[in-house]
Amino acid sequence: MKYAYYPGCSLQSGAKEYDSSTRAVFAHLGIELEDIEDWSCCGAVHVEGEAIVTLPARNLALAEAQGLDTIVAPCSGCYRNLRRSSQAIAADKAVRKRVNEVLPDGLQLRGNINVMHPLYVILYDYGLERLRKQVTHPLAGLKVASYYGCMLTRPKDEFDSPEKPQGFDKLMDALGAEVVNWPAKAKCCGGALAISHTKVTAKLSGNIMVSAKDSGANVVTLGCPMCHTALDLYQKKAEKAMGRPLNLPILYFTQLMGLALGIAEEHLGLERHIVSTQPVFEMLQGAGA
């Protein structure tokens, strides 16, 4: 298994721990990731018109030039943008022609590039049965609320339900964690408004964390750096908006996989979080004692 790896901008700055834990987990499982050289920004939610297709398409063409046909993009926003571009190009010859007209440096996109989120690579290409056999440190003691956010499951695609997604829950079950059933798992964190309308983000992310806590969760897992920012970095603001303390550790699913697979902590970056992840270790030890 070899994939083109598109880290995206966040994984180079605020979400380095998502990058390092993804690389470590994939290497541990024997899934090869080859970085797309000279990749560029996907535009996030600030891209309009034809650039919705042409901007991400540069990365598709770069992957193709490296002889790879499937891209793994850990940021849900990048995943969605790259996938949407790829689907639009595959569906319409006129779109492909237009893309090839504007691609710089003699780049051309001839074939179709598949775009996947690392969660889907684990679930559908690697397989949970295989993964179960690799778990050396089951996550007993963790009550995990799996948070999907938006772009991972919407617009509707082939991998999971946009309303009642299950992917993370199945993964967490395979890692030995207790899966919490909760109503806000597919609601929006408001990350897109984090700087321009901070109060809205605080309210939306606060609602999500209150729902997780009230459903009995002691940790939230997710697979999007923007959601992580809204739930981790903005948790103090969310506490203020909700009028109650939250103290909820927010972990990338790859960090939890790393813990369950016994991967060295130096690769997991758990010390980089704003909300302390120390309680997670205490819960795990408490269950083991």
Binding site: E101, L204, L233
Partner: protein, 184 residues
């Protein structure tokens, strides 16, 4: 779909997400599904109606599309398969083009795309400087200070931008082909 009496509808229909606006049956599933409906003046259902009625100024000068969080809840549930989330992005684009945009979200969007077009990748410190210089959002800036310190302590803010080899190529793939032809 020529419609001389409703040029706004014709224009919207030609944009991403706009092709099925006339299919809206005003069921309200979109507004009922919207997580930011409380922040909006009209909400997606009434925006659809206003577009059908040709109310360009009311639609494009509204703040509603700037509160859209692109969560795709509305589009996912729409029984008429209208791509409402993509339409909101097109309305933001049109509001910018026609000079109606007056929301901090518009300033942020501009600052964001300027930054990634400058380097080919995002560089958060520059994004933040560009945004506050555009918006003069002093209150917002003060609110960010408690976040900046822990970010610095946790090495979550880069000091130096990551750049692609030829950032000058970004304009070519970011400015739509159509606009370029019009400029010629």
């Amino acid at each position: 779909m020529a419609n001389e009496k409703n040029p706004f509808l014709v224009e919207v229909s030609a944009r991403p997400g706009g092709d099925r606006v006339l299919q809206c049956i005003q069921c309200g599933t979109c507004s009922g599904s919207c997580p930011v409906i409380k922040e909006m003046e009209y909400g997606p259902r009434r925006i659809m109606h206003l577009i059908q009625a040709g109310e360009e100024e009311r639609v494009l000068s509204s703040h509603d599309m700037w509160f859209c969080v692109s969560c795709y809840s509305c589009a996912n549930r729409c029984p008429r398969d209208i791509h409402i989330t993509d339409l909101m992005a097109s309305l933001r684009e049109m509001a910018e083009e026609k000079g109606y945009a007056q929301d901090k979200g518009a300033e942020f969007g501009q600052a964001f795309s300027e930054t990634y077009q400058h380097h080919g990748r995002m560089f958060e410190p520059e994004l933040v400087i560009r945004y506050y210089l555009r918006s003069f959002d002093i209150k917002g800036l003060l609110g960010m200070i408690p976040l900046a310190l822990p970010m610095l302590l946790k090495h979550k803010l880069p000091f130096w931008p990551e750049r692609i080899k030829n950032p000058q190529n970004m304009e070519q793939i970011c400015v739509p082909v159509k606009d370029k032809e019009e400029e010629r």
